[in-house]
Amino acid sequence: MDSSDLKKVLRYTKKYLPLIIISILLAFVCVAATLYVPILIGHAIDHIVYGKVEFDMIRNILIKIAVMVMITAVCQWIMSTINNYVSFKVVRDMRQAAFEKLQILPLKYVDAKAHGDIVSRIISDADQFADGLLMGFTQLFTGVITILGTLGFMLYYNRLITLVVVCVTPLSLFAAAFISKKTYSMFLTSSTTRGEQTALIEEVLGNEKVVKAFSKEEEMLEKFDEINERLGKVSLRALFFSSLTNPTTRFVNNIVYAAVGFAGAYACINNNMSVGVLACFLSYANQYTKPFNEISAVVTELQNALACAGRLFELIEETPQPAEAENAYVLKYAAGKIDIEDVHFAYTEDKPLIKDFNLSVKPGQNVAIVGPTGCGKTTVINLLMRFYDVDAGSIRVDSTDIRDMTRESLRKNYGMVLQETWLKAGTIKENLTMGKEDATMEEIIAASKAAHSYSFIRRLPDGFDTKIGEDGGSLSAGQKQLLCITRIMLSLPPMLILDEATSSIDTRTERHIQNSFKRMMEGRTSFIVAHRLSTIKNADVILVMKDGNVIEQGDHEALLKMNGFYAKLYNSR
């Protein structure tokens, strides 16, 4: 258990300290009342002796019991409600902090991490932590108080029997610990085997069409069965041995019960104790061992919960992107003059990618970037949008270094369409107005007509108000790309970045959009990454990139004359 994680958790709970104190007080009341009831019942039973039944006494005691029970019930309910409230709120606060952090983390972090991992931190880890915290609140406090309370009461009534109970109970703890230690490695084997099987299932079912195309069903089933058999064996062992815990602790409890019964009966015979007290002791013997078992479960649970919290904290404490200066420049509607000077950049230190990159773009110029995959085209976009910061050199927009202006104002001046389209779960309209929330319906329709998305949007069940699922749901890749283009045609920012913006759109439709694109790019500085040389040919500047370097630079005619890489590329088509 990491004590620093514990401290951080405590920091999050501080806000709810008064509630927690109330909860602990209620736990005290609850436990005291719960422990008092068996004593009262014992007293009552002592008055039930043949021929000497004292009804008045019994009635008084029973009324007391009723009151105690009501107090316990009410306290218990209030306590659980408070505990629910506090633990859910704490987790919510942590989740919120993590999510907010996510918005200011450098893309470097997000790109390098598996998204599934980040998601599982914010969702499952947080959730498990909530469960653990809740269990800790409700069971750890009451458990500890119950044990201490019971011990106190027992000591008060009979020291010998208490000694017996105290000596025998730890046996169940030892037994439980022993079994869980033994089963740990079995669970490990069983979960590795399960992982192996899941990997096979994902591979085969994920590519079932290929498996079928080569008629490999039988072979895959054999492979699966081999793992399945093994999994059956190891999980039987793990399941069986782990299920020994309950019978064993129950057995120890029974022994405690017998021991109390024996010692108690002797004490009664020797007139050291009344039968009522014995009944009370017997009920304690049951109650006393229960929290012990629970606490050992809770401690494991809490350890687990803290580990989960630790993973969440890791995310919350990750270094954010450099903060903006107070007086950072706010780029208004940019003219579109861009100067890139001596830029160096690498994703990882040992693999330098972009070296000595220089380029100046006049307002309104079109820049096309070409080159083989992995040449650094996407990296240039990352740098222009300031998703990543340059390692050396500078990028200036309208003569101001982009690191001296607010990220928001820089990015608002760019319109970006990427090859990998992204749509949010929501309506088509919500997705289109992302860059211009106050757009009127007329503007939206005009933009969608220009981007040739109007005809298919109109055919959707609810038109612009059609809800789409996560990542566009059932829309085709081409349709999604058309929506992303519409989005930009609506917001019309002064500078454009188009990274394979039409790659999923068939060439005929693309041709129809070209005119609107041309009109949009008029007077706007734009960067275009494309495969199709026809798109590139008309650019003002063509950057030919290879292995992170700009190897050729110029317009179409000039590059052809150079008879270099570009010429070879152009003539090979």
């Binding site: 008055h47 316990t72 919120q96 998601v119 079932e208 029974n254 009664c268 949008m385 990542d471 041709r511």
Partner: protein
């Protein structure tokens, strides 16, 4: 559910013994209060120390026997549960493997994977718990009632009232809390969606400066979640206090009535204590039962999902009919009608409009046929019909003069070398992947396929045919994977070769070399090339132009330029 219960058939012995031994354990537990009553009434009041010793030994013995019974039961139930899950997993996997493309499309990959993993695990837990507790808990409850009945018939009425009260409370609380728990799960799913979406769209979100809006959205979702959690928490939190009150009310009444009966000399003090103990036992057992019901509910939900997967019908064929005709040697196979489409129409399951309409053409050995058209024009659907992955709704698809039916599907598939759109390699080595085409292929055959598919340099750069392929082929680039999947198809030396947009990641020069080496293959396959690029199909013997599921034109490049408007537009757009 009946179908699933069938998987327990092989474990009949376990399914009987597990609850039986659990019941024995419960019986021994139920005897304990009686023994204690005896200790009090006989041992203490009659000052009989020997009886106390004797009875204590009985208590210990009961504990030991209980332990043995319980361990035996745990073993049998674990065995039945694991065996059950293993069996279901095998059957479901084999069922899923035998589904047609249409059914794969309907069910969806992630659904299938979830059914295979989470749902079956959930069911294993359910069966295990069911066998262990489902008989035990009611048995303890009713056993306690019967024991009470034997001690004192009138007082046992209190037990009936308490049990009915508890039953009512547990059911009521569950009735209200299960939908609330589901609601919490739904809200949590929404928070999950929000987070995942935020990560996948991080560039767009930052480009549009929507970070603040996203945070607002997220906190709205978490507020919803917390509201649902609190509602469900408040209801569930009632369970403990209310059951506690009911049982203790029972105890209060029991003591009062008990006192009256003892006073009348109809009951002993020890017996009152025994009754009190039975009531406490009922409380403990009912709480266990409530937890059990939640587990069982989850397992049942999983069970229904698994059954749903089983109920998706898979391909069936008549074993006797398979292999009766050898299509490779039919006279048509080597002539101009290796593949024939006769007025074929096809609509995807659940689709509004047909993917292909009135398609007719013939193609013979050695021909190279290009298929071109916009996205969604039906190119992939057409080649999928040739391989029999989908069945035509109207018209006939003939291969080697035989109409494709479910009995000759396997055989026809055997003639096809298919390179699917998505280039997938499987975990293992390059060699193992290539052998998928033909298990008995020799080294020479492999090398020929590697060479023809232009992947000799790929194999060389990875260190030979025995180089490792990681899961998903992630140690290969898109282009490398595409070339190796082409090699895999060529290892088969298939009479019909289908390249479904499988050169998209290759540069033009490699693409062109690939096509000429296919032309030079000694076994002269009938080749279908699907592409969006004119350059990939320009030299084909014939080009089929698809537009919205119909053939817009068919012929050579020159012919089409003259006659087909759609083709001309595509050509001009790529000039």
């Amino acid at each position: 559910m009946k179908k699933l219960a069938g998987f327990l058939k092989g474990y009949r012995k376990e399914c009987i013994f597990a609850p039986l031994f659990k019941m024995l354990e419960a019986i021994f537990e139920l005897i304990v209060p009686l023994v204690m009553a005896d200790i009090i009434d006989k041992g203490i009041y009659e000052q009989d120390k020997n009886r106390v010793i004797y009875m204590t030994l009985v208590l210990i013995l009961l504990g030991v026997v209980g332990l043995v019974c319980s361990i035996t039961a745990q073993y049998f139930s674990a065995k039945a549960a694991v065996g059950f899950a293993t069996g279901v997993r095998h059957s479901l996997f084999s069922h899923l493997l035998n589904m047609s493309y249409t059914q794969i499309d309907t069910l969806g990959t992630s659904t299938m994977i979830n059914r295979m993993t989470n749902d079956i695990n959930q069911m294993q837990t359910g069966v295990n718990m069911f066998l262990r507790l489902f008989l035990r808990s009611p048995f303890v409850v009713f056993g306690a009632l019967i024991m009470a009945f034997t001690i004192d018939r009138r007082l046992s009425l209190i037990f009936v009232a308490v049990i009915l009260g508890l039953y009512f409370v547990v059911i009521t609380i569950m009735y209200f809390s299960i939908p609330l728990i589901k609601e919490v799960q739904r809200k949590l799913d929404e928070v999950l969606l929000n987070t995942r979406q935020n990560l996948s769209g991080i560039r767009v979100i930052r480009a549009f400066c929507r970070e603040k809006r996203e945070i607002e959205d997220f906190s709205k979702k978490t507020d919803d979640l917390i509201f649902a959690q609190q509602k469900s928490g408040a209801v569930s939190a009632l369970m403990n206090p209310v059951t506690y009150v009911i049982v203790n009310a029972g105890i209060v009444v029991l003591i009062w009535k008990g006192a009256l009966r003892v006073d009348a000399g109809e009951l002993t003090q020890g017996q009152v204590i025994a009754l009190y103990n039975y009531l406490s036992q009922i409380l403990v057992e009912l709480i266990k039962l409530a937890n059990l019901i939640i587990t069982i509910n989850k397992a049942l939900a999983s069970g229904y999902r698994v059954i749903q997967a089983f109920d998706t019908p898979n391909e069936v064929w008549d074993e006797n009919e398979i292999g009766k005709t050898d299509i490779r040697t039919t006279p048509e196979a080597n002539k101009t009608t290796m593949v024939e489409f006769d007025n074929v129409s096809f609509t995807y399951h659940n689709a509004a409009s047909p993917a292909l309409e009135d398609i007719s053409f013939k193609a013979g050995s050695g021909e190279m046929i290009g298929i071109i058209g916009g996205t969604g024009s039906g190119k992939s659907s057409l080649v999928n019909l040739i391989s029999g992955f989908y069945d035509a709704d109207k018209g006939k698809v003939l291969v080697g003069g035989k109409e494709i039916n479910r009995n000759n599907k396997k055989e026809i598939l055997d003639m096809m070398g298919i390179v699917p759109q998505k280039a997938v390699l499987f975990t293992g080595t390059i060699r193992e992947n290539l052998l998928w085409g033909n298990e008995n292929a020799d080294e020479e055959c492999l090398l020929e396929a590697v060479k023809a598919s232009q992947s000799a340099d790929v194999v060389e750069s990875k260190g030979g045919l025995d180089a490792k392929v990681l899961s998903g082929g992630k140690n290969f680039s898109g282009g490398q994977k595409q070339r190796l999947t082409i090699a895999r198809a060529l290892v088969k030396r298939p009479p019909i070769l289908i390249l479904d947009d499988s050169a998209s990641a290759l540069d033009m020069a490699t693409d062109s070399r690939l096509r000429s080496s296919i032309r030079e293959l000694s076994y002269k396959p009938l080749t279908f090339i699907v592409s969006q690029r004119i350059s990939s199909i320009i030299n084909s013997d014939r080009i089929i132009v698809l537009d919205d599921g119909r053939i817009a034109g068919m012929g050579s490049h020159e012919e089409l330029l003259g006659t087909c408007e759609v083709y001309r537009e595509i050509f001009q757009s790529q000039e």
